[in-house]
Assembly symmetry: C2
């Protein structure tokens, strides 16, 4: 089975754990059998491999997520890297071309495309396999998964099938309706459109030749930022007459809000937290290294991270976005291609951060015009370069960099350092990059 | 008017703002007219001075609070420093002797003793003045304030007066009762005992001569750690036949729990916080520099500090103590005689803290056996001494101290530095102090 998992961008609905630079699918929130925790990405990947150990999994994502994906899934997973964000049609074409041109998969083979973050059981992956097999039959150019609705949701688009057979032709598609309209759709046998579909690889490459002048993966990659921002639904699905839908009646949850996410958690508390015995249906997700104590609460989610603290009634938590949009908070934590950083202290003329570099990784060689910096290595070993002078560094070593001096650090083992920035106008924009000599 | 304010020790009922080293009376939580915030100590001191600008205020406390008191009230307030904790009788004797022997107040003058943390209005301080004037009459050796009960509280002791006159002799005292018993006391005209009383200074010095071999303030101070741990109630109040009670019917609140404290707050949010419009009777007290977002909550208090996060139903918050006792949390923030520190990062072989020194103050000259340290000055100026070598330091200066080297820093202006501790067995107990040469 070939599977393309679409790993989307940032979002604020799970603030303070997700934000402009952190995506929800990497939050380790699900209890594993060995007592640890796994993320949505890790859970889905493990489930696919359990159903089909030979499945070829390709993750379509932006370059900002590559390091996090390798961290969480290992080096053997395929990644189709979008050089920039261009909506789902270019992204799916790029991943399809990656499978054919880079991985050498036969264009007659089917592929299943689905989001990386549904909360589902093993029967879902068996259904994905069936979806691919249905596409391989060639009765239709596209086979969609239609999820049997459990309530008249306003959050999903609907697929109206021609019949109630397990596999049916599609009569029409409907946009997200209001609840009353949704009830009418369901009475007509409508199914939720979960954005899951299968096709033969060559089919989408044909569409790409028509719409994007596709010639090869490399050509597409090189001019990716010039491709039109159009959705796969608009470019392909809505225009395709030979289209089928296959029913799926198993558990399928979209964990996009704290309310739905906490329903799927296997435990009340992740991180340091205490609930007293008068708490009912309370969840704590705490990324800070100090305890959360909850007393006498009902139906509440508490989440704490370096970005902030949310305390919300679970129902209300789905209305979080406008409030988070108003918070003009400096990014306090971010995962970067080379590791991560966390802001420890903010003063008027200084900023103190903790930097963690992954083994073998380094920052860009760069300088700042308006601030001095001091590094204190607290763990690991590596090499620093300051104005072209290289040295080996170990815990306790101090590196001082005056404004204007070029500098970088390369981690041999995982390397952590405390960086103190000093100056009157500290800004992330005060940065010049240089090639290494 | 002479007033002694008893400033008690640490407590956990207002965790995470109060803990083993931080007392609730110094938390700046009450909105002031100019839009700032004041603490319980500052509020009470301001109120006394408003009622009687010439009042002589002496604060009886331990040496750990001296710096915080001077910080909050200025240098002119009198402080009777207890060398160690010895219960209320030795503490009140020491403060009384301080007034007579150090301040030179006539022993025939009255003094009013009261806790530093009641939440009261100006009429309370007028009542304190009347209490002192009643003691000056000499009709009784002790005059207690009896607070008219507003409900049958189980939290207070009761005073049963002989009559319902404004000033009456005391018939008897009752320990904290259960609610049913309290109702019976109140039916008999009982009053709450708020621990407020007045006496002529010489009266308590006479008791001290009998019970503590009192000769002078200095002698008492020098052998303070050998004095018996007995309460003023036990040693004096319960044995005194010539004792009166004076009624007080104004507002009087003991802000010992989050429930009572938030009732007295003039605003919903102190610190960074957002309440959505479905929150009812929710208070946020946030000392962290990231926002708290509260949605859809009722009757809840949220408090965040470097020590942890409390989210509690207000009624339930009075049962906090056993839960906080179980939290084995490193002290993350503390006010010291020389300033304050805050833990920023904890790793297996390093600890990063932010140190703030008050102008003119310095740490002890000290060394550590098992850790190296690095200081990066981030604001202010001062002088460091490392192994007897002195230097002037400014923002951006880095001082490295190998294990075993003696070091200190003296702040000229307020001085802040980031201290990185490095070693395998970092412990607060690994510290040797030295005299400066």
């Amino acid at each position: 089975m070939n599977i393309v998992l679409l790993s989307g961008g940032s979002g604020k609905r799970l603030w303070p754990l997700s934000n402009d630079v952190r995506s929800k699918q990497f939050i380790k929130i699900f209890r594993t059998a060995d007592g640890g925790h796994e993320s949505m990405v890790q859970r889905v990947y493990r489930q696919i491999k359990a159903v089909d150990p030979d499945a070829t999994v390709t993750i379509a994502t932006s370059k900002t997520q590559v390091s996090a994906i390798h961290n969480q899934l290992g080096e053997s997973v395929g990644i189709s890297v979008e050089p920039c964000r261009r909506d789902t049609f270019p992204a799916i074409v790029l991943a399809t071309a990656y499978l054919v041109d880079v991985q050498g998969v036969d264009p007659e083979q089917p592929v299943v495309v689905c989001p990386v973050d549904p909360y589902v059981q093993d029967d879902y992956f068996a259904a994905l396999k069936a979806l691919g097999e249905q596409a391989a039959l060639g009765q239709a150019n596209l086979v969609l998964m239609g999820i049997e609705p459990t309530y008249p949701s306003e959050k999903y688009g609907y697929i109206i099938p021609k019949s109630d057979a397990p596999v049916s032709e599609v009569e029409t598609f409907k946009e997200k309706p209001d609840a009353e309209t949704a009830k009418g759709y369901i009475a007509r046998g409508a199914l939720w459109n979960g954005g899951v579909f299968a096709y033969k690889l060559g089919y989408v490459l044909d569409r790409a030749r028509e719409l994007l002048d596709y010639t090869s993966y490399q050509d597409l990659f090189d001019r990716y930022d010039t491709l039109p921002k159009i959705s796969f639904d608009y470019a392909v699905v809505e225009k395709e007459p030979k289209i089928q839908v296959m029913r799926f009646a198993g558990q399928w949850k979209d964990l996009g809000t704290w309310n739905t996410l906490t329903e799927a958690m296997g435990e009340q508390v992740v991180g340091e937290g205490i609930l007293n015995d008068t708490c009912r249906n309370v969840h704590i997700v705490n990324e800070l290294n100090v305890p959360v104590l909850a007393m006498g609460l009902q139906d509440v989610v508490i989440s704490a991270s370096p970005e902030g603290i949310l305390v919300s009634d679970k129902e209300q938590s789905s209305y979080i976005k406008p409030f988070v949009d108003k918070i003009d908070q400096q990014i306090m934590f971010a995962e970067k291609s080379w590791g991560s950083f966390r802001v420890l202290d903010v003063e008027k003329e200084s900023l103190t951060i903790k930097v963690t570099l992954n083994p073998g990784h380094s920052m860009n060689y760069h300088s700042h015009q308006r601030r001095d910096e001091v590094w204190v290595v607290i763990s690991g070993t590596g090499r620093t370069v300051v104005d072209d002078v290289e040295r080996e560094v170990h815990p306790g070593d101090v590196i001082t960099m005056a404004a204007g001096s070029r500098h970088t650090v390369l981690a041999q083992s995982e390397l952590q350092l405390i960086e103190v920035q000093l100056g009157r106008d500290i800004s992330v924009h005060d940065k010049q990059k240089f090639p290494m000599e």
